[in-house]
Amino acid sequence: LHAASAAVAIRIRPLYLLLGTGGGYAGYRQYEGYKDRRLQELGLDITPRVAHTWEVAIYKSVPTRLLSRAWGRLNQVELPTWLRKPVYSLYIWTFGVNMKEAAVEDLHQYRNLSEFFRRKLKPQARPVCDSHCVISPADGKILHFGRVKNCEVEQVKGVTYSLESFLGPQTWTENLPISKTSFQDQLVTKEGNELYHCVIYLAPGDYHCFHSPTDWKVFHRRHFPGSLMSVNPGVARWIKELFCYNERVVLTGGWQHGFFSLTAVGATNVGSIRIYFDRDLQTNSPRYSKGSHNDMSYVTNNNQDGIVMRKGEQLGEFNLG
Protein backbone atom coordinates (compact mmCIF):
# COMPACT_ATOMS: atom_id res chain seq x y z
CA LEU A 1 0.00 0.00 0.00
CA HIS A 2 2.87 2.25 0.96
CA ALA A 3 4.67 1.49 -2.33
CA ALA A 4 1.48 2.02 -4.30
CA SER A 5 0.76 5.36 -2.64
CA ALA A 6 4.39 6.43 -3.23
CA ALA A 7 4.03 5.47 -6.92
CA VAL A 8 0.81 7.46 -7.18
CA ALA A 9 2.46 10.41 -5.41
CA ILE A 10 5.36 10.30 -7.86
CA ARG A 11 2.94 10.19 -10.79
CA ILE A 12 0.79 13.00 -9.45
CA ARG A 13 3.70 15.30 -8.50
CA PRO A 14 4.39 16.51 -12.09
CA LEU A 15 0.71 17.29 -12.43
CA TYR A 16 0.85 19.42 -9.27
CA LEU A 17 4.02 21.06 -10.57
CA LEU A 18 2.34 21.87 -13.88
CA LEU A 19 -0.79 23.19 -12.18
CA GLY A 20 1.31 25.22 -9.77
CA THR A 21 3.48 26.85 -12.43
CA GLY A 22 0.53 27.32 -14.77
CA GLY A 23 -1.52 28.90 -12.01
CA GLY A 24 1.37 31.10 -10.94
CA TYR A 25 1.96 32.24 -14.51
CA ALA A 26 -1.74 32.98 -15.02
CA GLY A 27 -1.71 35.01 -11.81
CA TYR A 28 1.36 36.94 -12.97
CA ARG A 29 -0.35 37.72 -16.32
CA GLN A 30 -3.54 38.82 -14.54
CA TYR A 31 -1.53 41.16 -12.27
CA GLU A 32 0.30 42.64 -15.29
CA GLY A 33 -3.07 43.20 -16.99
CA TYR A 34 -4.46 44.87 -13.84
CA LYS A 35 -1.44 47.21 -13.70
CA ASP A 36 -1.92 48.16 -17.38
CA ARG A 37 -5.63 48.89 -16.82
CA ARG A 38 -4.82 51.10 -13.80
CA LEU A 39 -2.26 53.05 -15.89
CA GLN A 40 -4.80 53.43 -18.71
CA GLU A 41 -7.38 54.74 -16.21
CA LEU A 42 -4.78 57.32 -15.15
CA GLY A 43 -4.54 58.30 -18.81
CA LEU A 44 -0.95 57.14 -19.10
CA ASP A 45 0.12 55.69 -22.42
CA ILE A 46 1.28 52.12 -21.92
CA THR A 47 3.57 50.37 -24.33
CA PRO A 48 2.17 46.95 -25.30
CA ARG A 49 3.60 44.25 -23.04
CA VAL A 50 5.33 41.96 -25.51
CA ALA A 51 6.25 38.40 -24.56
CA HIS A 52 9.66 37.63 -23.09
CA THR A 53 11.97 35.44 -25.16
CA TRP A 54 11.33 32.47 -22.87
CA GLU A 55 7.54 32.88 -23.30
CA VAL A 56 7.92 32.91 -27.10
CA ALA A 57 10.23 29.88 -26.90
CA ILE A 58 7.65 27.96 -24.85
CA TYR A 59 4.85 28.92 -27.25
CA LYS A 60 6.99 27.99 -30.27
CA SER A 61 7.71 24.60 -28.71
CA VAL A 62 4.00 23.75 -28.86
CA PRO A 63 3.55 21.41 -31.90
CA THR A 64 1.16 23.84 -33.63
CA ARG A 65 1.74 22.35 -37.10
CA LEU A 66 0.93 18.84 -35.88
CA LEU A 67 -2.18 20.16 -34.10
CA SER A 68 -3.13 22.07 -37.23
CA ARG A 69 -2.85 19.01 -39.47
CA ALA A 70 -4.76 16.89 -36.97
CA TRP A 71 -7.48 19.59 -36.88
CA GLY A 72 -7.54 19.53 -40.68
CA ARG A 73 -7.87 15.71 -40.79
CA LEU A 74 -10.71 15.85 -38.29
CA ASN A 75 -12.55 18.40 -40.41
CA GLN A 76 -12.23 16.30 -43.52
CA VAL A 77 -14.30 13.51 -41.97
CA GLU A 78 -17.57 13.43 -43.88
CA LEU A 79 -20.50 14.14 -41.54
CA PRO A 80 -23.71 12.10 -41.77
CA THR A 81 -26.44 14.25 -43.31
CA TRP A 82 -28.49 14.43 -40.09
CA LEU A 83 -25.44 15.79 -38.16
CA ARG A 84 -24.53 18.54 -40.63
CA LYS A 85 -27.16 21.11 -39.66
CA PRO A 86 -26.52 20.96 -35.87
CA VAL A 87 -22.71 21.05 -36.27
CA TYR A 88 -22.65 23.90 -38.80
CA SER A 89 -25.37 25.79 -36.90
CA LEU A 90 -23.20 25.68 -33.78
CA TYR A 91 -20.24 27.01 -35.81
CA ILE A 92 -22.48 29.73 -37.37
CA TRP A 93 -23.78 30.75 -33.94
CA THR A 94 -20.32 30.69 -32.32
CA PHE A 95 -18.56 32.77 -35.00
CA GLY A 96 -21.46 34.87 -36.30
CA VAL A 97 -21.44 33.55 -39.85
CA ASN A 98 -23.95 35.22 -42.22
CA MET A 99 -25.22 32.35 -44.34
CA LYS A 100 -27.48 34.64 -46.43
CA GLU A 101 -24.31 35.75 -48.27
CA ALA A 102 -23.15 32.18 -48.97
CA ALA A 103 -23.51 30.90 -52.54
CA VAL A 104 -24.94 27.64 -51.07
CA GLU A 105 -27.21 28.32 -48.09
CA ASP A 106 -28.38 24.72 -47.58
CA LEU A 107 -26.15 23.37 -44.78
CA HIS A 108 -26.75 19.76 -45.85
CA GLN A 109 -24.77 20.44 -49.04
CA TYR A 110 -21.50 20.78 -47.12
CA ARG A 111 -20.06 17.29 -46.56
CA ASN A 112 -17.66 18.37 -43.79
CA LEU A 113 -16.54 21.45 -41.85
CA SER A 114 -13.59 21.92 -44.17
CA GLU A 115 -15.93 22.37 -47.14
CA PHE A 116 -18.13 24.67 -45.08
CA PHE A 117 -15.05 26.72 -44.15
CA ARG A 118 -14.16 27.12 -47.85
CA ARG A 119 -17.70 28.24 -48.77
CA LYS A 120 -17.99 30.81 -51.54
CA LEU A 121 -20.14 33.94 -51.44
CA LYS A 122 -22.92 35.01 -53.78
CA PRO A 123 -21.27 37.16 -56.51
CA GLN A 124 -23.43 40.18 -55.61
CA ALA A 125 -22.60 39.85 -51.87
CA ARG A 126 -19.34 41.80 -52.23
CA PRO A 127 -19.43 44.59 -54.84
CA VAL A 128 -15.88 45.69 -55.77
CA CYS A 129 -15.26 49.42 -55.15
CA ASP A 130 -14.43 51.13 -58.46
CA SER A 131 -13.43 54.52 -57.13
CA HIS A 132 -10.39 53.37 -55.12
CA CYS A 133 -7.22 51.83 -56.52
CA VAL A 134 -6.69 49.48 -53.54
CA ILE A 135 -9.53 47.39 -52.08
CA SER A 136 -9.65 44.88 -49.26
CA PRO A 137 -8.62 41.43 -50.53
CA ALA A 138 -10.69 39.68 -47.84
CA ASP A 139 -13.28 39.97 -45.11
CA GLY A 140 -11.74 40.71 -41.74
CA LYS A 141 -10.63 43.28 -39.22
CA ILE A 142 -8.05 46.00 -39.88
CA LEU A 143 -5.29 45.37 -37.34
CA HIS A 144 -3.00 48.14 -38.53
CA PHE A 145 -2.09 50.23 -41.55
CA GLY A 146 0.10 53.16 -42.50
CA ARG A 147 3.54 54.06 -43.77
CA VAL A 148 6.46 51.66 -43.32
CA LYS A 149 9.29 53.40 -41.42
CA ASN A 150 12.88 52.29 -40.83
CA CYS A 151 12.29 48.83 -42.34
CA GLU A 152 9.88 47.98 -39.52
CA VAL A 153 6.21 47.12 -40.06
CA GLU A 154 3.67 47.34 -37.23
CA GLN A 155 1.57 44.19 -36.74
CA VAL A 156 -0.52 46.13 -34.23
CA LYS A 157 0.14 49.60 -32.83
CA GLY A 158 3.46 49.63 -31.08
CA VAL A 159 4.49 46.04 -31.90
CA THR A 160 6.69 45.75 -34.97
CA TYR A 161 8.46 43.18 -37.07
CA SER A 162 11.31 43.42 -39.52
CA LEU A 163 10.34 44.02 -43.15
CA GLU A 164 13.39 42.08 -44.37
CA SER A 165 12.71 39.06 -42.16
CA PHE A 166 9.09 39.09 -43.30
CA LEU A 167 9.68 39.32 -47.07
CA GLY A 168 13.08 37.62 -47.18
CA PRO A 169 16.07 38.62 -49.33
CA GLN A 170 15.27 40.69 -52.38
CA THR A 171 16.26 38.13 -54.99
CA TRP A 172 12.99 38.39 -56.94
CA THR A 173 14.32 41.19 -59.07
CA GLU A 174 17.65 41.44 -60.89
CA ASN A 175 17.92 45.19 -61.34
CA LEU A 176 18.43 46.15 -57.68
CA PRO A 177 19.20 49.88 -57.31
CA ILE A 178 22.78 49.57 -55.98
CA SER A 179 22.82 53.19 -54.78
CA LYS A 180 20.09 52.46 -52.23
CA THR A 181 21.35 50.98 -49.01
CA SER A 182 18.36 50.08 -46.88
CA PHE A 183 16.13 47.13 -47.71
CA GLN A 184 13.10 49.42 -47.62
CA ASP A 185 14.62 51.92 -50.07
CA GLN A 186 15.47 49.09 -52.45
CA LEU A 187 11.78 48.10 -52.56
CA VAL A 188 10.70 51.60 -53.61
CA THR A 189 11.26 51.84 -57.36
CA LYS A 190 10.12 55.42 -58.06
CA GLU A 191 11.60 58.64 -56.73
CA GLY A 192 9.33 60.35 -54.17
CA ASN A 193 7.25 57.25 -53.43
CA GLU A 194 6.69 55.76 -49.97
CA LEU A 195 6.13 52.22 -48.72
CA TYR A 196 2.73 51.48 -47.13
CA HIS A 197 1.26 48.46 -45.36
CA CYS A 198 -2.10 47.16 -44.22
CA VAL A 199 -2.75 44.15 -41.93
CA ILE A 200 -6.13 42.38 -42.16
CA TYR A 201 -7.03 39.71 -39.58
CA LEU A 202 -9.53 37.05 -40.71
CA ALA A 203 -11.58 35.70 -37.78
CA PRO A 204 -12.70 32.02 -37.76
CA GLY A 205 -16.23 32.87 -38.96
CA ASP A 206 -15.09 35.10 -41.81
CA TYR A 207 -15.22 34.21 -45.49
CA HIS A 208 -11.74 32.75 -46.01
CA CYS A 209 -11.07 33.21 -49.70
CA PHE A 210 -8.96 36.20 -50.75
CA HIS A 211 -8.92 38.24 -53.92
CA SER A 212 -6.63 40.60 -55.78
CA PRO A 213 -6.52 43.98 -53.95
CA THR A 214 -5.64 45.93 -57.12
CA ASP A 215 -4.70 45.60 -60.78
CA TRP A 216 -1.16 44.18 -60.62
CA LYS A 217 1.24 41.59 -62.05
CA VAL A 218 2.53 38.86 -59.76
CA PHE A 219 6.15 38.00 -60.62
CA HIS A 220 7.28 35.84 -57.72
CA ARG A 221 6.12 33.59 -54.88
CA ARG A 222 8.11 32.89 -51.71
CA HIS A 223 6.80 30.24 -49.31
CA PHE A 224 8.17 30.36 -45.74
CA PRO A 225 7.34 27.14 -43.84
CA GLY A 226 7.12 28.02 -40.16
CA SER A 227 5.15 27.91 -36.93
CA LEU A 228 1.40 28.12 -36.89
CA MET A 229 0.84 30.22 -33.81
CA SER A 230 -2.47 31.98 -33.40
CA VAL A 231 -2.57 35.39 -35.11
CA ASN A 232 -5.59 36.75 -33.29
CA PRO A 233 -5.21 40.41 -32.26
CA GLY A 234 -4.41 39.52 -28.64
CA VAL A 235 -1.46 37.33 -29.70
CA ALA A 236 -0.39 39.87 -32.34
CA ARG A 237 -0.16 42.44 -29.49
CA TRP A 238 1.84 40.02 -27.37
CA ILE A 239 4.39 38.33 -29.64
CA LYS A 240 6.74 40.68 -31.49
CA GLU A 241 7.82 39.35 -34.92
CA LEU A 242 4.83 36.95 -34.84
CA PHE A 243 4.29 37.21 -38.60
CA CYS A 244 7.96 36.33 -39.19
CA TYR A 245 7.61 33.10 -37.18
CA ASN A 246 4.46 31.83 -38.90
CA GLU A 247 4.06 29.88 -42.13
CA ARG A 248 3.32 32.36 -44.89
CA VAL A 249 3.22 32.83 -48.67
CA VAL A 250 4.62 36.12 -50.03
CA LEU A 251 3.49 37.18 -53.52
CA THR A 252 5.52 40.06 -54.96
CA GLY A 253 5.07 41.98 -58.18
CA GLY A 254 4.26 45.39 -59.53
CA TRP A 255 1.32 47.76 -59.96
CA GLN A 256 0.89 51.18 -61.56
CA HIS A 257 2.95 52.88 -58.83
CA GLY A 258 5.74 50.31 -58.49
CA PHE A 259 6.31 47.49 -55.97
CA PHE A 260 3.28 45.56 -54.66
CA SER A 261 3.08 42.49 -52.41
CA LEU A 262 0.37 40.40 -50.76
CA THR A 263 1.29 37.95 -47.98
CA ALA A 264 -1.06 35.28 -46.64
CA VAL A 265 -0.03 34.29 -43.08
CA GLY A 266 -1.29 30.94 -41.73
CA ALA A 267 -2.45 30.25 -38.17
CA THR A 268 -3.07 27.23 -35.94
CA ASN A 269 -6.56 26.37 -37.15
CA VAL A 270 -5.89 27.60 -40.69
CA GLY A 271 -2.57 26.08 -41.58
CA SER A 272 -2.97 25.65 -45.31
CA ILE A 273 -2.78 28.37 -47.92
CA ARG A 274 -3.83 27.85 -51.52
CA ILE A 275 -2.95 30.17 -54.43
CA TYR A 276 -5.22 29.26 -57.34
CA PHE A 277 -2.63 29.90 -60.08
CA ASP A 278 0.19 28.10 -58.24
CA ARG A 279 -0.41 24.36 -58.19
CA ASP A 280 3.13 23.60 -57.00
CA LEU A 281 2.62 25.37 -53.67
CA GLN A 282 2.44 22.90 -50.74
CA THR A 283 1.96 24.48 -47.30
CA ASN A 284 1.85 22.96 -43.78
CA SER A 285 3.72 19.84 -44.84
CA PRO A 286 5.19 17.64 -42.06
CA ARG A 287 8.87 18.17 -42.90
CA TYR A 288 10.61 21.49 -43.44
CA SER A 289 13.95 22.97 -42.48
CA LYS A 290 13.78 25.90 -40.06
CA GLY A 291 14.46 29.29 -41.55
CA SER A 292 14.17 27.98 -45.12
CA HIS A 293 11.97 29.35 -47.88
CA ASN A 294 11.23 28.15 -51.35
CA ASP A 295 10.81 30.49 -54.31
CA MET A 296 8.92 30.30 -57.55
CA SER A 297 9.13 32.85 -60.37
CA TYR A 298 6.05 33.37 -62.54
CA VAL A 299 8.10 35.26 -65.14
CA THR A 300 9.31 32.92 -67.86
CA ASN A 301 10.92 33.47 -71.23
CA ASN A 302 7.62 33.43 -73.03
CA ASN A 303 5.70 35.13 -70.24
CA GLN A 304 7.47 38.32 -69.16
CA ASP A 305 4.30 39.66 -67.54
CA GLY A 306 4.04 37.04 -64.81
CA ILE A 307 0.46 36.47 -63.57
CA VAL A 308 -1.80 39.41 -64.45
CA MET A 309 -4.41 39.96 -61.69
CA ARG A 310 -7.45 42.28 -61.99
CA LYS A 311 -8.77 44.08 -58.91
CA GLY A 312 -11.27 41.74 -57.16
CA GLU A 313 -10.22 38.60 -59.06
CA GLN A 314 -10.12 35.39 -56.99
CA LEU A 315 -6.54 34.78 -55.85
CA GLY A 316 -6.51 32.07 -53.18
CA GLU A 317 -7.93 30.69 -49.95
CA PHE A 318 -7.04 29.59 -46.45
CA ASN A 319 -7.96 26.03 -45.49
CA LEU A 320 -8.40 24.29 -42.16
CA GLY A 321 -5.44 22.13 -41.18
Binding site: R126, S136, F145, L163, L195, H197, Y207, S261, T263
Partner: protein
Protein backbone atom coordinates in the same frame (compact mmCIF):
# COMPACT_ATOMS: atom_id res chain seq x y z
CA UNK B 1 -5.20 33.89 -40.52
CA UNK B 2 -3.92 37.25 -41.72
CA UNK B 3 -3.28 39.06 -44.97
CA UNK B 4 -0.55 41.69 -45.13
CA UNK B 5 -0.34 44.16 -48.02
CA UNK B 6 2.99 45.96 -48.46
CA UNK B 7 3.17 48.27 -51.45
CA UNK B 8 4.79 51.36 -52.89
CA UNK B 9 2.72 54.44 -53.69
CA UNK B 10 3.15 58.19 -54.07
CA UNK B 11 3.25 60.35 -50.92
CA UNK B 12 -0.36 61.45 -51.35
CA UNK B 13 -1.74 57.92 -51.05
CA UNK B 14 -4.41 57.98 -48.32
CA UNK B 15 -6.06 55.14 -46.42
CA UNK B 16 -9.85 55.02 -45.99
CA UNK B 17 -9.54 52.98 -42.82
CA UNK B 18 -9.67 53.03 -39.03
CA UNK B 19 -7.62 50.50 -37.03
CA UNK B 20 -9.93 47.89 -35.50
CA UNK B 21 -12.72 48.35 -38.04
CA UNK B 22 -14.37 45.39 -39.77
CA UNK B 23 -13.95 45.34 -43.53
CA UNK B 24 -15.36 43.24 -46.36
CA UNK B 25 -13.63 42.05 -49.50
CA UNK B 26 -14.15 44.66 -52.23
CA UNK B 27 -14.42 47.68 -49.91
CA UNK B 28 -12.00 50.60 -50.33
CA UNK B 29 -8.64 50.42 -48.54
CA UNK B 30 -7.19 53.60 -50.00
CA UNK B 31 -6.43 55.69 -53.06
CA UNK B 32 -4.56 58.67 -54.36
Amino acid sequence: STIVLIFEAPKDFTFNLKAGQKIHFGEAVGSL
